[in-house]
């Protein structure tokens, strides 16, 4: 694995040597065109922001939630050009020229006119997309009359799965930001603090570090000692009391790349400490087993078996999912993803959730590089400090 330690900052440096974004974009773009050739795709029509970012390198306006599918980016193999829906050139890298930009339309007829102006799309035979809507095939038929629409997901995964050294450096930087957020949240953890206050601390902190878009606002759970225990969701006004298990699960994004880590802490004071410490120990054992299973060649079934052997039974969230330009494939849950295969150079989020009524819940998560020599955790913390100091 290439050492990334000296690059872990967000600022430019006079001597260079940070993440070389020109190189990063050129490499991604080349990988996309290679994959199009391998999959015999004449064009790609992309709507998912992460796919658009991967091939275009453009810094897009971030909005919460899944974007409806639409033609935000068109990649044409024959001309080797990337066309982007953007009214302006700010945030657009120089390899995408003004002629490659098309404007925002509310009227489908105007959007169609924009697409019809893209050289090479009209004659495309096979067009790969990363989503569909019921009316889209008819719409695309007007812009590319002879095209068959095919699923580009496999081709896109083949270029996004394995990370370059520059991509890993971005993810490691995001990991450092997430660690910093976790430290800030932990320092605020005391009896009386609410979930909302902890989330407020989290998003404020990552913004001050220049990375204001959280991968997920579901980053805190003050787990109750009575009744059903849910993993983090929308923060509530529930406050932590001494002896509560509190999940802190911050993530961060740097240049679009995501990392995150989850740690559960016992709030100082209160009762039932040993039972809660035991639950936490179970979660940690499970996470260690899942992380250890993240080796090149391991299947989803292998990862699940490692988790189950360590006592894993409950998985309302994936046990492992990919990380790159946001959360991505593969997804391994307690039911799905048995045939997925981890490859060297993938980065995954490995996470476990254990809960027991009357005690609380624990979420533990790390960002892990699947390296040739075995798993390498990209997130770090003095993970036992909260326990030993309380």
């Amino acid at each position: 694995m290439t050492s990334v330690g000296s690059r872990l900052g967000v600022g430019a440096r006079p001597e260079g040597g940070g993440v070389d974004f020109d190189r990063l974009r050129a490499d991604r773009r080349r990988r996309v065109f290679d994959a199009m050739a391998a999959a015999d795709l004449d064009a790609l029509v992309l709507g998912r922001p992460a796919n658009v970012a991967f091939v275009s390198g453009a810094r897009q306006l971030w909005t919460a939630g899944a974007r409806p599918f639409g033609p935000t980016c068109v990649v044409v193999a024959g001309t080797a050009r990337v066309h982007l829906l953007s009214v302006w050139d700010e945030g657009v890298p120089p390899e995408i020229e003004h002629a490659d930009l098309y404007g925002l339309s509310w009227n489908p007829a105007n959007l169609l006119r924009s697409l019809s102006g893209i050289s090479g799309l009209q004659a495309a035979r096979r067009v790969g997309t990363d989503g569909l809507s019921p009316g889209f095939p008819q719409f695309l038929a007007a812009a590319a009359p002879s095209a068959e629409i095919v699923d580009a997901t496999t081709a896109l995964r083949s270029v996004r799965d394995v990370k370059s050294a520059d991509e890993i450096a971005c993810i490691a930087t995001a990991a450092a930001i997430a660690e910093s957020a976790l430290a800030t949240m932990m320092s605020a953890l005391r009896p009386g603090v609410s979930e909302r206050e902890l989330v407020a601390r989290y998003v404020e902190h990552i913004s001050r570090l220049g990375a204001p878009t959280p991968p997920s606002e579901a980053a805190v759970s003050v787990t109750p000692r009575r009744g059903r225990v849910d993993p983090p969701g929308v923060a509530s006004s529930r406050t932590a009391a001494g002896g509560d298990l509190v999940v802190l699960d911050p993530g961060a994004m740097y240049a679009g790349y995501e990392a995150g880590m989850g740690r559960t802490s016992l709030v100082p004071g209160g009762h039932q400490r040993s039972r809660q410490a035991e639950l936490l120990e179970r979660a940690r054992r499970q996470l260690a087993a899942v992380v250890a299973s993240c080796r090149p060649g391991a299947t989803g079934a292998d990862v699940r078996a490692a988790w189950a052997d360590a006592g894993g039974t409950l998985a309302p969230m994936p046990i492992v999912h990919g990380l790159g330009l946001g959360a991505e494939a593969p997804v391994v849950t307690s039911m799905l993803g048995s045939d997925e295969v981890l490859r060297a150079g993938m980065v995954v989020s490995a996470q476990v959730w254990v809960t027991e009524e009357g005690i609380g819940g624990c979420l533990e998560r790390d960002t892990v590089l699947v390296d040739d020599g075995g798993p390498v955790a990209l997130t770090r913390s003095a993970r036992d400090s909260a326990m030993s100091s309380s």
Partner: protein, 416 residues
Amino acid sequence: MFSPAGGVELLIEGSPIPASADLARMRRARGERLQTELESQGLDGLVLLGTSAVAYATGARLPGLDSGRAALVRPVAVVIRGEARPQLFTPFPGGAPPELPEDRVHGGVVADTEEGAADLVDMLHAWFPAGARLGADELSHPLAAALSDWDVVSASAVMGASKLRKTPDEVACIRTAQRINEMAMSTVVGELRPGLRQVDLTATFLRRIHELGATSNGIDPIWQVMPPSRGDGPWTTHGDIAFPTSTSDRFLREGDVIWVDTGIHYEGYASDFGRTWLVGADPRPTERQRRQFERWTTVVDAVRAGCKPGVSALELGRAAISANGGTKPWIDHFYLGHGVGTDSAEMPLVGTDLGERFDERLVMQPGMVLVLEPVIWDEGASGYRAEDVLVITDDGWAPLSDHDYWPFDSTPAAAP
């Protein structure tokens, strides 16, 4: 009751707008609307994957998620004709509405794999016979293939018709979202000074909305420094100004004119806050800037004067153009105004490239919500932009936003 006009009860189809929403009643009313539209449009059900559509159809509370995460293990809503309650698939079971029985709440859907799509479709078989007509908003390729037993059409007509006119409870949610947004922006403006970076303002904003009880943030907050002239700004496809461009660690400096634009969600409903702020040790608008603001006020007043049931979007657009001396007072790629609901921009859209015939047929009705956002561009001296929110009532309109125009009208209220 919410009655900003001072004691006058504001009615939507005869019902008052409550001070705070009755969420269970709101969800029930939305379910009834969806059922009415399924019936009248001849659909047997809906399969909804869009984040805002799921929020509308189920009332599920969802945290703010990056788009990749939101699409990886998806919330999905299934609405079955004849059944008042939806089926909800969600990775956030704690956000399911309390009245939804547990057997209607399922785990999130991995729609991008054949295996995940098959899991969902197995359940659909129990609810819909082969050949049933299903409305969908968004499909993955594996899901589209797995739905081949059914006649899948667009859900947009059902969703559009249901969402267009808000119930009084929905209006109350928008009002609450707007209030949280406004309070957070009051804190931000209290900290505004030269030397801060855009991301510093974001930090304060995001902290405040969560402290104040927002369900989620909606958009990376915009603090765009506006150039004096179009040519000084980014190149654009249409030659008009670029807005809104993304936030960065750009420093805000003495004399900068910034157009701010933020939005949050409360119980699924979006707010929309827009203002023009000046950066400075003692920011005071110049005479020319004051005239821009007056022009903006004139335009908004003219549009609001026309807001009542029966008036077309075309008439509202013409009122704005006339008040602006014959020039269209909005950005070429946007609109004079837009609706807001579970989407931050939805129908009614006023003044888009959908064209005059579309606007002519888009007639204001009680319960429609409008965010008015005219732009007064003053080439050489930047411009003024702000957004205000209103709802069409039975006999006119009522404001849903309530915020000062600092530093153009007065000093800012003390930050809460």
